[in-house]
């Protein structure tokens, strides 16, 4: 496998903001048109880890809309996410990725014909691998956040799940069908969204059985990233957090999706667990997401933290975080692809808990402190290199 450094990357939600930014950015950095700012794995100590080069990634993907990538990229320029002129300069790369986009699974299809949908995904992934003669393929979900799924007995074990699918029962949302397709075709599966994806006992068991690595979930890019850096500081100083309120204004496709309260719930769940885990006591910590269409691809989070110091005195930290979500997410996507490809190369399977650094709701661990997560990541990447 070492002879072939190329890695296939299959993005679910391949025509979305994050996906388009990630593909354009990978090409730009590979071509020397941009610095690798925001890419964790392009800095020491990770530069020595032999990770796949950005120029060796072959992109494809599933989506349920058909907006050409060139149009999507042009809109991202208008919204200030991509530099003026960049998509034009990388037209070849965008065309190549365009030719590898395939129709994904709609919510309706997942309910009505799950079996056929899954088969179609499996066939798309196999064809992609064959067409490009790829050893390693990483499937990464950056499609719109789904509503939480209803619990169902078929979620509990592989046999029951396969049975339910054979009967065409509507037990899985698209994200889980994509995860299954990845597993069946020997691809790594990474979930950057809070959707269910691979996070069901039945699917985790299948991943172990097929010996593919999994990682997730929900990319940590803004307010939660800040929380995971700041809450440990309060803990270290024995300052007692009394309330930590987080109000988020966001637009874009993501803002619209999260305006649906059911979907927002997925997101809030994955954001909410962290403070108590870090601080060791329950905190009044409301989180709210407001869609503000006019904000486009930008987001402002305001956090209001009341804490108690010596002799019970109340003090306050407030912050605002004004970020471009896709610009924050895209380099992490590329990091995750490189790291998942490393896991494939090493033959690791099951949940990659050492990737917690990237996620709001890290699978397989309760470690939420950013610096500890970074240390986990370093150890995982480097120890194996050493070995």
């Amino acid at each position: 496998m070492n002879e072939d450094r190329r890695v296939g990357v299959w993005l679910v939600g391949g025509r979305g903001s994050v996906a388009t930014t990630a593909m354009t950015g990978a090409a730009a950095v590979a071509a020397g048109l941009a610095e690798p700012t925001g890419l964790v794995t392009m800095r020491p100590p990770f530069t020595d880890a032999g990770l796949v080069g950005l120029g060796d990634l072959i992109f494809g993907g599933h989506d349920v809309v058909e907006t050409p990538l060139a149009i999507r990229a042009a809109r991202l320029v208008d919204d200030g996410v991509l530099p003026v002129g960049l998509p034009g300069a990388l037209a070849g790369a965008l065309e190549a990725a365009e030719s590898e986009q395939r129709p994904g699974i709609t919510g309706r299809e997942a309910r009505i014909e799950p079996q056929a949908s899954l088969a179609r995904m499996v066939s798309d992934l196999n064809a992609f691998r064959t067409r490009h003669d790829l050893g390693r393929v990483v499937v990464l979900n950056v499609s719109s956040t789904e509503a939480p799924v209803e619990p169902h007995p078929a979620h509990e074990n592989p046999a029951a799940l396969m049975d339910a699918l054979d009967q065409n029962l509507a037990v899985l949302p698209p994200s889980a069908l994509y995860a299954l397709a990845a597993i069946e075709t020997g691809c790594a599966y990474v979930d950057f969204t809070p959707s269910v994806g691979a996070r069901l006992p039945a699917i985790e068991a299948l991943a172990e059985a097929h010996e593919v690595p999994l990682a997730g979930s929900d990319g940590k890019t803004g307010e939660t990233f800040m929380k995971s850096a700041l809450a440990p500081a309060f803990a270290a100083r024995a300052l007692k957090v009394r309330s930590w309120s987080g109000m988020n204004l966001l637009g874009g496709g993501d803002g619209a999706a999260l305006a649906d309260p059911a979907r927002a719930q997925s997101k809030l769940d994955s954001k909410g667990r962290l403070l108590e885990e870090i601080l060791g006591y329950p905190v009044e910590a409301p989180i709210y997401i407001q869609d503000v269409r006019d904000m486009g691809e930008w987001k402002t989070a305001w956090d209001h933290v009341v804490f108690e110091g010596f002799l019970g005195i109340r003090m306050k930290l407030q912050f605002t975080w004004e970020g471009c979500d896709s610009a924050l997410a895209a380099p992490l996507i590329l990091d995750l692809i490189r790291l998942a490809a490393l896991a494939l190369e090493r033959g690791e399977s099951g949940v990659l808990t050492n990737l917690a650094f990237f996620f709001k709701d890290p699978a397989g661990t309760r470690e939420h402190q950013l610096h500890r997560q970074y240390e986990m990541l370093e150890r995982w990447v480097l120890q194996k290199v050493a070995a």
Copy 2:
């Protein structure tokens, strides 16, 4: 020495806000009238380290004003620093500390009669130790920040320094004379201010010679504390900080002292070094301190951070920190006393680099990342216990 758990604490600036809050708070926590919030050493894993109890501290101090502690405490109640009724409930403890306050060295005395001033301090410290039959005494500087000192050849080695003092040359500010007195009488010396204190080669050498421990300098309580928690997060994520501007509004005695640009300079110097150390590249990072008398004991810092993410996109973090400086500083003072007493007990001497966690400008180390400093502290306290 283990028989006598009592520790003498000599506060330079003993009638100031921080000193008064620390003494009142120690008595309150010892009496069970308040929780030890903000006290790092009263939480695991430090609770098992056998540190001196707050009730076993005997307080005294030097100051250049004569405002009775009871009056100072009453003002701190008015300003919302101390809970209503608390000084009254602890009148005994405040009276005891009052009876141990002595006139300190004014700037004028340091210039005109340094030799005699030093001798007076030495005699005060010896008398304090004898009066209470104390094994261990910690001298801690919480007096007003001094202007930076002019470099002088006598600063370079002990002999030259002693010589200069013998000739009554004005080569040392009060903080350094206090440090010398501590060293000569076998006390630990901790500098919570950015004043020069023990930070001259000649004085550090004397501390080694007298085998006393030193720690400093400049307590890290607000904006810098935040920086040392947040800058590592930017670094870990490969986000490039373009500018980090910090504007500080503060009142109180400290605000007035820092309204003097020369003194503010001491403070700004000790705040400025950190970002580049953590991030590894120079950052445009202006810091400004504004005295706003009306703010009393309160402080608001506003930080405006512009950073660059993927493909050069500019994003922003802003925070405001609304703190009561004395409430933030006082528990750290008590932590430092307990830890310096531990160093005395262990017979450690010279600069205690492992106390970097507490300081803006940690002596003897360039480690500014809060979580690494915390780990250094843990290792230092616990490894020795284990041994």
Copy 3:
């Protein structure tokens, strides 16, 4: 009537934060123990308008809880709303008000026995007037915000309404029954809450018929106050507001009441109309209220305003408003009492549109610009004096 300057004040929600703060504060200012800060009518040009003195107000009220005013005031001291020691110094005034508190109408009573409840209120008000031999009485609603009422045909005219009450139909919430009682007994009725109160065609007609003045609704104390000052500035400068998002964190009784989405709706409705009225075009302007119990009597509002300037460039204003709601509301309550008493003295009846300055949702006018509302107030108070 001029001989008797005394005015009766009947507070619905008489044991709440706002009511208790208003009564304590009136006594404090009257006794010279506090400045009249925040009282609009105690500054020129209103000082010459011959308004009733704060010492000439006789307080009473209805509430559905029985917490003694002394206890409520003590809690307000703990929460930093009232100065330490003040309730003690004014014990006499609080006792006098305590002896005039009567059980109000619960939601259940309003549904089950509206007729009897109304009669009880009428009798309480008449007794109060007689007991103190009062010429003028002002009823002011500062009770918890109610959920919006279901429309009902009986709301449209007095006859239908009286008919429905005769049949004991559940067509009115408590606030409206209080308004009816005020009208029937010749009292002015002011609504400081967004509850329905007198804002039904049937009740407004009855007020006209009984020749009593009405004012409301929903006191303008924080975010909306800021909006009514700032939005006119954007308009004057031809800057186009693209979005104005307002996130509110509040605790206290009010926070808890507004945690009920139905009640919050009343509040949001009355806040939402203003921007479009001032700017002249629709604006994306979400408002959200979050209960944060830990914040007690304090509130922080964060507003995030994106506006467009020359050549379409996007710019931003953000503000946080950290206020104590009861401290902001109480002086306005006293202003409104004095002004309603003036209306009674002048024999004005119906909706007092010139009091728009005080309200989020001013009855009888669409004028939301703060400075215009101030001018309306000035003209109304002074022109009549001149006449």
Copy 4:
């Protein structure tokens, strides 16, 4: 004169950010390529006042650098001030303005050869007027802020001033020489900067004598604009402002100029007078300007306002204003040109106090309340139309 609607506009600092943005924007709006957002005089009621059309402005100017306008405009595109593609689309207009740029007066020239410098300016202005056969010419200063001038007896009356210039004494900075040149050639003179310009008794007297109108000074675009909108709201509500601290971060040419403390002083002086005028009592109101080169054309102001409400309770308003200074200033420049041209048309001379709305330090009036200033403006523009 009515036959010729064209107006000559001579910008001092004609190659700066504000000037370039104003010229480009005027052409863009005239050509229908942009909305007149931010232009006060393009909205009712000013649309009926018969003001000169933006397409009828002929631009020229003085500067001490020679950067071509096309290059300056391209940089403003990079900095996000001008839309991508706009300067290209308006190349003709920029070339026309380029051909009318002339070398201005450097500080050195103003000291060494004031007489000759003044003559050169006069000749440039006369030539401009003749070349384009212009009835009305407005000179508007948007050059870098100068340091405050030393008082000199020659400033007091025209004769003394002329005398001093005849002797080539260094008594006037460039801005004042430009003002003199404007006056001598019958042009209106508007000062958008805090430099001395026409604000000397001698120069004001000369303007009266030559019957030319003057306006100034220091464009009100950001923090001060906010203050003039907000401070009246505090006053109207009888809330007592205790401190109002304003910290400004700015880059660009202006940031660099103001990094010079002497020049910053001019700016701070003109910002500082306002609060006391509006509130009627002195307020602790520090203002600070920090150059942050990395911020380019953008500015962030943070204001921290502590106010006192009922019973002395302390509350807080904080705001951040993130603006693009040139985008805020440019439309005001165009408004001022149109209004100064109106004054010329009407034959008004001396200080135009009714333009206070546009200035931090309005000449000839102490009215700082934004809404009152707007009313003054409306009355001035419209009453004359009516007449």
